[in-house]
Symmetry: C2
Subunit: 217 residues, 2 copies
């Protein structure tokens, strides 16, 4: 499986555009835990995930974090190439949550093609709308949902991604996903444990009553 | 001043596209306080503000609100036409905060032109990126800024928009902008008054020490 099978508008490119991408494409194997893109530091390029898992997040000046969205196989990351649009006035950081194989399209190559191809520009529009929807969902969660519901939803989502009820996650890491201090996470997890929904042990959280957790959400 | 002077990519449309827009364009005068677009209810079309002021916001199931961004003269509203992109999976409500003159471009007309014109598609991309930046700013405010700072910033922004230090705003309305209950707003405003930054009277807030308010932010 090559790049052309992963890039949805490949067939709508002309020969010149295709070769421009092929000649500049960078293939990378990224180790779990690696920071791929660090906010305003650079304009890395567009990332197309072949396999693996990325996390896009923002950080406060004090180092607090909140996860905006995840990227999985076949997902494309636009905001690691924010220099392609002047109206992108914010920074996201991106790290590999699992070992990840990806392609990098250099920003200037993509920008040129997007400017001449309505198909690529519209594909980019859909990409951005999709991330916008993720972020709007996040705002609604932060604004209107209490922390117990958000934490329950997060644990269920993790279990679905990992296809396991045993989650190797520190309370610190959960705090970074949800934008809350570790102590708040620990307190709520202990309450979940008292209620028989999870079992806590060192570096691990086991979901023991998925049904009850689901009712919370 | 006509539509063509307000629509930035007008000169990049061909004759057919121009007449398609001209033939379908709707001009409207909207009274202050009118709800123009109500979330998923409908696909109103793209709104281009000739003069006036619109507010885009979201609402919880319980009726709480938070302002996402404002639209002023020459701004265009995309999310009142969310049916033009399948990846827009969220609803915003839009109301006129002042008497507003605007044009409505029917969604199907805009969609067709966007699909064939890279210029229009890229303009739409910039529009969306711009709103995305507003919303990312909002998330950072909600997540990392305390309410006193957010309220101070809001009062200063209102004073700049109204070009007046006397703001005709109820505590309820401020709560709807910032996503907080009225009581929380009232309590903080009283604290601001005790500190000499504002003077409260019925339906009005007067900024009495702008410098001190600015230092808070």
């Amino acid at each position: 499986m090559n790049f052309e099978h992963f890039f949805p508008v490949w067939d709508q490119l002309n020969a010149t555009q295709k070769s421009r991408i092929q000649d500049s494409l960078i293939e990378r194997q990224i180790k779990k835990g690696t920071m791929i893109h660090n906010g305003s530091m650079d304009c890395t390029g567009l990332l197309l995930v072949r396999s693996g898992q990325l996390r896009a997040y923002i950080r406060s000046d004090e180092g607090r974090e909140i996860t905006l969205y995840r990227l999985f196989d076949r997902d494309m990351c636009l905001f690691s190439a924010s220099c392609i649009m002047r109206s992108i006035q914010f920074d996201v950081a991106i790290e590999a949550e699992k070992d990840t194989d990806l392609w990098i399209i250099p920003p200037e190559v993509y920008k040129t093609i997007m400017e001449e191809s309505a198909a690529v520009a519209n594909y980019t529009n859909e990409l951005m709308a999709s991330r916008f929807s993720d972020v709007m969902w996040l705002i609604e969660q932060i604004m209107w949902k209490s922390f117990d519901k958000r934490l329950a939803a997060f644990l269920l989502e993790e279990a679905a991604i990992e296809e396991s009820s045993r989650l190797h996650l520190t309370h610190e890491a959960i705090g970074s996903h949800l934008g809350n201090p570790r102590e708040v996470v620990t307190r709520m997890l202990r309450y979940f444990q008292d209620e028989g929904m999870v079992k806590l042990s060192r570096g691990m959280i086991e979901i023991t009553n998925e049904e009850k957790l689901r009712q919370m959400v």
